[in-house]
Amino acid sequence: MLLAVIIFNFILLSLVPGDIADTLAGESGGASQEVMDDIRRTYGLDRPFHIQLATYVGKVLQGDLGTSYYFNLPVTELILGRVAPTLLLVVTALVLAILIGTLFGVIASRKPNKLFSHFVTVLALVGFSAPVFWTAFLLIVLFVAMLEIMPLSGLVDPTTPRGTLAWYLDVLHHLFLPVLSLSSIYLAAYSRLARASMMDVLGSDYIRTARAKGLGETTVTYKHALRNAVIPVITIAGLQFSHIFSGAVVVETVFTWPGLGTLAFESILRGDTPTIMGILFFSAMIVIIVNLLTDIAYRVVDPRIRSARNA
């Protein structure tokens, strides 16, 4: 499966016009035939396509993702350096969005015609349709330019000593705006989804039974209904996790966040094939892992799936 991904990606990338020699020549503001040949020879681009493919696949099978043409560093090292910032950004945004979104949805579903419910509907509409870069810029205008309480770009101020408490706090400080921007799209989706799903569940028979038993409304909502209503949320969260790169690329670019998204985007523009291949390989693995985690999460919240195996 992963092998197919590698070969397919490699072929796709080879169809793109231009290579790293063109990029380096472009960045250099000029070139000569000799230097371009020199670059192509250095990175083995002068060899026939099938040999390049075979060499690459051979290396990957041995656990070597190659060396970045642009940074001249092992791709694995480059990617590992970028994984933590991206995961920090995306997981924080996703978790916040799921928690707050579900909470909003649940509250709204209890009184579907009250003000808060309409507020959630509007919020969902605006949040989901506003382009994330636009949201990001509005947040920058508010927090950075007007209130002047938030830093604008990067993961951390490079002059802060690493590993100290100040460093961690600075990272959190830098994290605030990117997370807020990124979670705005997810938040909208989850609150809407949770609201619809809750209303559906609240209308079902077992809820009526629960109420008939004389249980309080809060217990009914949070203990009985939520468990079932949250299943579609998990499904979507699992699916969306594989989309994280696309959303994160924009946010990472606006805030110069040193994550995988930026690296992927810039490597594509540069024609840094080993780096792109490495990232694709890595994200294919993430998708597989997250699918597994989603299945496990189903079992945890839904007793029916758990018992299905035992039956």
């Binding site: 016009p17 070139a31 230097v35 330019a145 604008l152």
Partner: protein, 525 residues
């Protein structure tokens, strides 16, 4: 009385200005610089380009440096001498200069560095005439040339001629992949590499053993990548960033200009000499006819482009050489906007309007990246419509796709940007030499322009050491080229260096190399 008062006031202003510039540089502080790109490495001997050059010239010292009037000044070289026949150049090195690892800089390192440039640097003509380098003693290097080479002193400066240690970079046959191009860099410049996070930032710290006593003044340079222009602008306004360079977006420049803490300057770009133009493929019909090319040059309202699209931040350029150069064109046809003249020329060339009023149907490519390029292309399309030329704009997916199209001559017209790189031998000849038509290589003679007289004039000027005689040759060459019009010359790139004048003293703008010159005079107020 009023006049006297005015004189007094201006005298007072002058006095304050003098007092400000005479301010004593202070030691210490961190300068935060930001740029849209961070290079993969900082070794200027194997790559040109500003992303490598700006940090590269802080880490590595060169033999010479240049002031803002194109005069060479000592740097690693204490003195230099060109023999009367122009065939030998003798360099005397400073005795006290050391690399960051403490090893002395010797003529062996000079020889090794220039040979590395000859073998691996993209600009071949820079050191092409250097046949051999002798090292009679550790502090003397003698360059033996095959012909007089007027560009050599400039080639010894900034990023075009840094000295790299042989004992570090000479231990491999694959210098392109040398790990110390980007980590543990060993140079002899005013700053040492402290930390490099690929794609994020570079931290450089003061070289305590720098060979120029008492310098540099600043403790540390934080060089941050901020690729989004808006974010860079806000960072400047907030004071998070002290200086940026190569800013070119007119609305943003307008905005920055209004800020009372910031100064904008177009100084420091005359060496790289950035020009923006419309190039023709002279082998494609109808651009094989000089009159069609001239007609297009007349049909474009250059003043409108300068005023409206570039907000007055760019400068008109009339020919192959940048207006900031001593060889800038003087008496060439300026192709003043003239629609009637353009129509006349097209009539003469036999391209008369058809039933729809169209004379020529053709295509136009442009460099991707930057909204201004696209707007300029669309403006030219509208302009050419007025003289009966129907243009289809061809957008490229990305930079590499555009380079492929243009370098393989698969275009009719293209919007292009080319740098002069200091001396015409390095950055100008390549665009016009008939011997430099090389498919697949970016920024060669992609127009496929061939003119024997121009070839000969460049050949002569490339070997002429006398600046005035050389200037005369380039004037003549440019007259012919502008008349032949393989390119419609439009304007310079609107590059500006922006710095916070409350914080930054002596910004690196008083050299033809601007931010690609050593920042050893810069201080934090």
């Amino acid at each position: 009385m009023k006049k006297l008062l005015a004189t007094l006031t201006s005298a007072a202003v002058l006095a304050t200005a003098a007092a400000v510039s005479a301010e004593e540089p202070k030691r210490g502080g961190t300068l935060t610089f930001s740029y849209g790109i961070i290079a993969g490495h900082f070794n200027p001997a194997i790559a040109s380009g500003t992303p490598t050059g700006i940090p590269g010239t802080q880490l590595f010292a060169a033999l010479l440096r240049f002031d803002d009037e194109w005069n060479p000044k000592p740097y690693l070289a204490e003195s230099w001498e060109i023999s009367d026949d122009g065939l030998t150049v003798t360099i005397k090195l400073r005795a006290n200069a050391r690399f960051h690892d403490g090893m002395p800089i010797t003529s062996e390192d000079v020889k090794f560095s220039i040979e590395t440039y000859q073998e691996h640097h993209p600009f071949k003509p820079m050191y092409a005439p250097v046949e051999s380098i002798d090292t009679p003693d550790p502090l003397t290097a003698v360059f033996n040339l095959s012909n007089p080479h007027p560009a050599i002193l400039l080639a010894f400066s900034s990023q075009l001629g840094v000295i790299i240690p042989k004992h570090v970079y000479g231990n491999t046959d694959n210098i392109r992949q040398h790990p110390q191009n980007s980590q543990n860099v060993v140079g002899s410049g005013p700053f040492k590499l402290k930390e490099f996070k690929p794609g994020e930032y570079i931290i450089m710290e003061r070289n305590e053993d720098y060979f120029l006593e008492g310098k540099p003044y600043i403790d540390q340079i934080v060089y941050k990548k901020i690729s989004e222009t808006t974010s860079r602008v806000i960072s400047l306004e907030k004071g998070d960033v002290d200086m940026t360079a190569f800013e070119s977006n007119a609305p943003f420049l307008d905005r920055l200009k209004k800020n009372e803490h910031l100064t904008l300057t177009p100084d420091g770009y005359s060496a790289i000499g950035p020009l923006e133009w419309l190039a023709f493929n002279t082998k494609h019909e109808p651009f094989d006819d000089k009159r069609v090319r001239q007609a297009i040059a007349y049909a474009i309202d250059k003043e409108f482009i300068l005023k409206v699209l570039y907000g007055g931040y760019a400068q008109r350029s009339l020919g192959p050489i940048h207006p900031g150069s001593v060889f800038a064109p003087k008496d060439v046809n300026p192709y003043t906007y003239d629609i009637e003249k353009a129509k006349e020329l097209l009539d003469e060339a036999g391209y008369t309007p058809d039933a729809d009023g169209i004379r020529i149907r053709t295509t136009l490519n442009y460099i991707p990246g930057g909204a201004t390029w696209k707007r300029k292309t669309e403006f030219v399309k509208a302009q050419l419509k007025k003289v009966g030329i129907d243009v289809t704009i061809k957008a490229s997916a990305d930079f590499r796709a555009w380079i492929k199209t243009v370098s393989n001559h698969e275009f009719d017209m293209t919007m292009d940007s080319v740098f002069n790189w200091g001396d015409p031998v390095i950055g100008v000849h390549r665009t016009y030499q008939s011997t430099n038509i090389r498919p697949g290589v970016p920024w060669h003679n992609t127009q496929q322009f061939q003119n024997a007289a121009v070839d000969e004039l460049m050949e002569k000027a490339g070997k002429e050491l006398d600046r005035d005689k050389r200037a005369a040759l380039y004037q003549e060459m440019q007259k012919i080229v502008v008349d032949e019009a393989p390119i419609a010359y439009l304007h310079t790139s609107p590059y500006h260096t922006v710095f916070n004048h409350d914080r930054v003293g002596n910004p690196p703008v008083d050299s033809i190399w601007g931010v690609s010159s050593p920042w050893d005079e810069v201080y934090i107020k």
